[in-house]
């Protein structure tokens, strides 16, 4: 009996690893935030856990700059233009979700 492979043999998913950074010193760090945080006056800010990660990294390394983008909807893929913007950074941290 001859059967056929039911799974992914062709994919449009580029799964190559991004080049690894030697250090975070001197890099622009991107943050793609799924949820954010709303202050009582309505201002939107970084999700607190993500903000803490940023604080710790800034303390430990000489981060050149930070690029923060907040997704419009947490359950959906970020719009292509937002991905393009955040990809300007040397490394990107993505999260947090529910």
């Amino acid at each position: 009996m001859r059967v056929l492979h039911p799974g992914r043999e062709e994919t449009r998913h580029d799964t190559r690893m991004a080049p690894r950074l030697r250090s975070l010193d001197g890099v622009v760090l991107g943050f793609l935030d799924n949820i954010g945080y709303t202050h009582s006056d309505g201002r939107r800010d970084m999700y607190p856990l993500m903000a803490e990660v940023k604080r710790v990294l800034e303390q430990r390394y000489r981060i050149k700059g930070v690029l923060w983008r907040l997704k419009p909807l947490k359950g959906q893929v970020a719009p292509p233009e937002m991905i393009k913007e955040v990809a300007q950074a040397d490394a990107v941290i993505n999260g947090i979700c529910l």
């Binding site: 009996m1 001859r2 059967v3 056929l4 039911p6 043999e9 709303t38 359950g75 529910l98």
Partner: protein
């Protein structure tokens, strides 16, 4: 015989195949039929389509769905060739960006893509739209539901704990396909007709939702409306956090009573919309429920340019959705008692999408 593009394997028998399927992770736990070249060829012959034709890219792992891959997974699910156009329509609907398949296969929520089949295909292909519609007893419902799930599994790579992060999962994630019970009442048009299709079109509507929550509503129209309204306004459902479509399923007996009492389907939509409301003043007695960062009040105001909660004139009667038709109504199930069901959706993170089923000419 077609020259298939998929890799072929020789196996001794069905059990040998089944061991191979489990070892390679080609099934979600339920046994699957062997996709033999002969069976897959029969599907291709029926469809009269190029096996290499691309249907789309299935998230989250972006596997390429070709006619051939769809045929293979349909055979594994136990589909007759004539079911495959239904699966193709369901797959195409769920690949519409508005449906956000990537999100609803990956979310921590327990939602699953539900296929609602309507039109002449229901009777023609033997879909169950009566007793036990949500589970058990009909090859067409089970096989079409399984085929869609296997496509999400094998091409999408929606694997629990890896890419599919639903904390609880759901029995609906094995197979989730129902059919509309068209009882021929002119004032109760099937879902696809409400959405602008012709009555003689066969259509699949995909809707990301929880497994059904039953509603027992004997005792007259007032009870039907109030019990459904209560079921629609349960704290903890995602549409509380992010207002979006919800599905109400009503059985024929309930529909006939509603119709006798002057409720067309349109009027039923409107009655549910009017009665099923969030009472913000009452909810504000619960700490953190109203006005917090992750709760009602933030989300409702974010949606589709809707007015903010603060601008609503009556905070005791905040609508669940913006328009009555966003509470989808489907007639389905058996006639035995006064049952209905509500399937809460995945908030505003996904919208239902309908596609006409195209059978080979």
């Amino acid at each position: 015989m077609t020259k298939f593009h998929s890799k072929a394997f020789d196996v001794k028998d069905s059990w040998d195949w089944l061991d191979m399927a489990y070892e390679n992770g080609w099934t979600d736990g339920v046994p699957v039929a062997p996709p033999t070249t002969e069976r897959v060829q029969a599907v291709i012959d029926y469809l009269r389509r190029d096996p290499a034709e691309e249907i789309g890219v299935v998230p989250p792992m972006d596997g390429l769905a070709t006619v051939e891959k769809v045929a293979i997974n349909c055979v594994m699910a136990g589909c007759k060739p004539e079911y495959v156009p239904v699966v193709l329509a369901g797959l195409e609907a769920s690949l519409d960006p508005a449906f956000n398949l990537n999100g609803n296969l990956s979310t921590t929520n327990p939602c699953a893509p539900l296929a609602v089949v309507g039109g002449p295909a229901v009777k023609k292909l033997g879909f169950n739209a009566g007793d036990g519609v949500f589970g058990g007893g009909a090859r067409a419902n089970a096989a079409v539901g399984r085929a869609l799930r296997l496509l999400y599994w094998n091409l999408g790579g929606a694997i629990p704990g890896v890419t599919a992060k639903s904390t609880l999962g759901s029995p609906a994630k094995y197979a989730y396909c129902i059919a509309e019970n068209d009882i021929g009442l002119p004032s109760w048009e099937p879902l696809h007709v409400e959405r602008g299709f012709e009555s003689d079109d066969s259509v699949v509507t995909m809707f990301a939702c929880d497994a059904p929550h039953s509603v027992y509503c004997a005792g007259g129209v007032e009870r039907i409306l109030s019990y459904f309204a209560t079921r629609l306004t349960i704290l903890g459902t995602l549409h509380f956090h992010r207002a979006g479509e919800i599905l109400a399923v009503v059985t024929p007996r309930v529909v006939r009573l509603l119709e006798q009492e002057g409720y067309s389907k349109r009027k039923f939509h409107e009655a549910l919309y009017e009665r099923a409301r969030w009472d913000l003043e009452a909810l504000s007695q619960l700490p953190g429920v109203v006005g917090g960062d992750d709760y009602l009040g933030q989300w409702w105001g974010d949606i589709h340019g809707a007015p903010s909660v603060d601008s609503m004139p009556d905070k005791r009667r905040l609508p669940l959705v913006q328009r009555p038709e966003e509470i989808l109504v489907v007639v389905s199930g058996g006639d035995g008692q006064w049952w209905g069901a509500v399937c809460p959706g995945w908030g505003n993170l996904s919208q239902s999408v309908s596609r006409r089923i195209v059978f080979p000419g």
